[in-house]
Structures are given as C-alpha cells and as structure tokens.
Amino acid sequence: MEHISFLVAVVIITALAFDFTNGFHDTANAMATSIATGALRPKIAVTIAAVLNFAGAFLSVKVATTISGGIVNEKAGIHPSIIFAALVGAILWNLLTWLRGLPSSSSHALYGGLIGATIVGVGFNGVNFNTVVTKILIPAVASPIVAGLAAWGATKLAYAITRRGNEKTTTKAFKTGQIASSSLISLAHGTNDAQKTMGIITLTLVSVGALPKGALPPTWVIVGAGAAIALGTYMGGWRIIRSMGKGLADIQPPQGFSSETAAAAVILTSSHMGYGLSTTQVCSGGIMGAGLGGPKRELNWSMARRMVYTWGLTLPAAATVAGLAAFVADQGTWGVVVVGAALVAGSGAMYLVSRRQPVHAGNVHDTAAVEVTPVPTPPATAPVTAPADATIAA
C-alpha cells in the first residue's frame, strides 16, 4: 500500500508537470501571430492566454473521464507506473523540442508516451492501433493542410477586399480581430488540454480505489490542472513563439487574423467531430498558409521542413523514451525513483542549455533562429527589427 501511495503521489506531480510543459509549449499556438503583428504586447498576450487557459479548464470535464480517448485499452491493466512512464516520455520530448524552438504537439507526445509505455508494460494488445490511425495519424496529416489551405484562401480574400480601404483603419481592425481569434484558441486549448491532465489524475486515483469508478474529477484536480497549464502558459515558451511568429514568415495583421481564424475553425470543428487534434500542427499550418497567401508569398521552407520532421518524430520518440521508462519503473519503487531522477536531471540539463541562448519577452521579435548546436544559423527571412518593447524585458 505504501508503494502504491508513493507512486500515486509521483504520478500526480508528474501529471501536473506535464500540464505545465504543455502550457508553455503551446502559448505560441494562440499568441505567436498576435505578438508578431503587434496586436498584443508580449507580456499582455501571455497573461490573456494564461487566464483563458485557466478559465477553459472549468468549462468542461467531458473528455476528462478517459486518459487517451480509446488509444490504449485502459482496462487491459494500465497501472500507475505505465502512466508515469508515459508522462516522462512526453515531458522530455516537450522540453527537447522547446529547447530547439520547435512547435511540436503536446497531445502527440502524451499519446506517444502512452503507446510506448503500454507496449512495454502490457503488450501490443494494449494499444488500439486502429484508433491510433483513424483518430490521430490521419487527422495529424490532414488538419495542418486544411488549416493551411483555409488560411491561404482567407488571406488572399482579406487582402483583396480591403485593398482599397484606408490602410490605418484596416491594420487596426485586423489587430482587434486577432485579439478575439487568439483568445478563442487559448480558451479551446485550456478546455482540451487541461482535461487530459484531469483525466490522468482522476483515473490514477480510481485505479487505486481512492475514487469510485466513473467518478468525475474532484474540484482540487480541476483547479490543479487549470493552474498548472495557466502557469506554464504565462511563462511563455518564447523560443517557440519566436519560431512561429517570426520564423516562418513576416506575418502582417490580415495574415495573422486569417491564420488564427482558420486554426480556431479547424480546432473547434474537428474536436466537435471527435478527432484527436493537435492545436500546434493546426496553428503552424495556418501560419504557413497565411505566409504563402500574403502579398510577399513567402515561407521559410527550411523552418517549415524542420517543423514537419519534428511532428513525424513526436509519436515514436516519446514512445521510445516512455517504453524505456516503463521498463525501469516496473522494477519497483527503486525503478520509479531512478526514472524520476532521470526526468529531473534531463529537464535540468535542458534548462541549463537553454540559458546559453535565452529567448524572452524582450527579444522575442528578433528573427535569428534559436540554435543550440554549433550549426551555422540559416539566414534571417526578414530584416531584423529592433525590439520595440525592449523596456519590458525584465
């Protein structure tokens, strides 16, 4: 019993830690283009995103009664050490991609972690590969393309319609529209992703008999998950915000509004239809489409390629790390301690490496690519502008 409660405590803490990384990894989805076009000042943007993510956590607990939406067979013996291993794989992948400034899907990292840990801990029969293909892989390929096409078409129309309008009025109005569209994405993100953490904690408590079967998340779980994702969002994954806001194209207000509207439409429609969507991929696809649809028809293809490779790697990489972690954690308490120590050490190391080239609210508008390895940096796509808000760099 003592072993169980130790493990449950570790799972809850790790789940909240994952929720935190999910928050700061995904701030960019909603806010990168609003920050890039100047619709919102960086600190204001992350504050709005954090508040809306927190509020979103309270809007619905509909999907919080499942960990995975049917991807792994939760009745086939998913025990806390498997969930712990899955979270470790997801967190480490999230941090590695953040370090490199690449937007990758936190949901895919979590699903990959669950799949890897389940294969090692339960066997291949614990994973519903049919669901993996229909609910994750196909939407993962389709959704960024749909968002990209929609953003491309919308950008063309936005420029065509407002061509003869007053430029100052147009810019100001599109910026105002961006505040609404990016807020909607933030709220949807909080609702979707905070629920995943609630589901993990709730089902862990159910699995050890601390809650009755089929119980809804207790209030402290909802508050905890909402607070963790909001805090993570407020920290702002500035490296990823820079990549998405400045690294793909020089986004102007009509493009920002089009890409955010496309992302919000795809996210809300597909979650309504029951697809396990990736907010990150949808938003990145929208930005790429808006870049190509704009008057300059520009897209930094090398950055786009790096993002797509990362998306492809997310599931297998998180699965591999989680599988390894599941094998070690299954050895008993010492195994859990070893995996926990590895998680803390790995996270700490990546944080230290990130300090070599810090990105924060004050220099988020610079266009230099985040590069932590001694590879020559690719040429900037747009003239480097002096950060107008250098004063708020704390």
């Binding site: 809007l59 929609a150 919308a154 009025t169 529209g177 809300l268 697809y275």
Partner: protein
C-alpha cells in the same frame, strides 16, 4: 480498418468554409469602416452632406462585425459543450 472519409471530408470542408466566410465578412466590415471615414473626410468642409452615406456604411460595418461575433459565440458554445 474503417476510415470514415466522409466525416473527414465534411470536417475539412466545414472548417474551410467557416474560415473563408468569417474572414470575408470581417474584411467587408473593415471596408465599410474605411468608406465611412472617407465619406466623413470628404464631407468635412461642406457641413453634413455625407452623413447619410456615412451612417449607411457604419450600419453595414456593424452588421458584418455582429455576424462575426455570432460565430465566436457559437464557437464558445462548442467549447463549453
């Protein structure tokens, strides 16, 4: 394996349609606002000659932005649903 291409295509089509519709209506609203400013500016020296057209443009802009706001409210209801 049973892939529901139909549902997938539907989701893609609806997303595309909503995006283009919202951005088009919003852009039309902005255009109407610009028109209003242009009319007011032109009428600036000659008294209230352009107020009728300016008010019509403002009404048009209001309708456009209200339509966009309605879509946002529907989106909120989907999030909470």
């Amino acid at each position: 394996m049973n892939i529901k291409w139909n549902a997938l295509a539907q989701t893609a089509g609806i997303s595309f349609g909503i995006t283009v519709a919202v951005v088009t209506v919003f852009a039309l609203g902005i255009l109407a606002l610009s028109r209003r400013e242009a009319v007011l500016e032109a009428a600036g020296g000659t008294g209230s000659g352009g107020t009728g057209r300016a008010n019509a443009a403002l009404a048009g802009a209001t309708v456009c932005f209200a339509a966009c706001a309605a879509v946002v409210v529907y989106g909120l209801s989907l999030i909470a649903g």
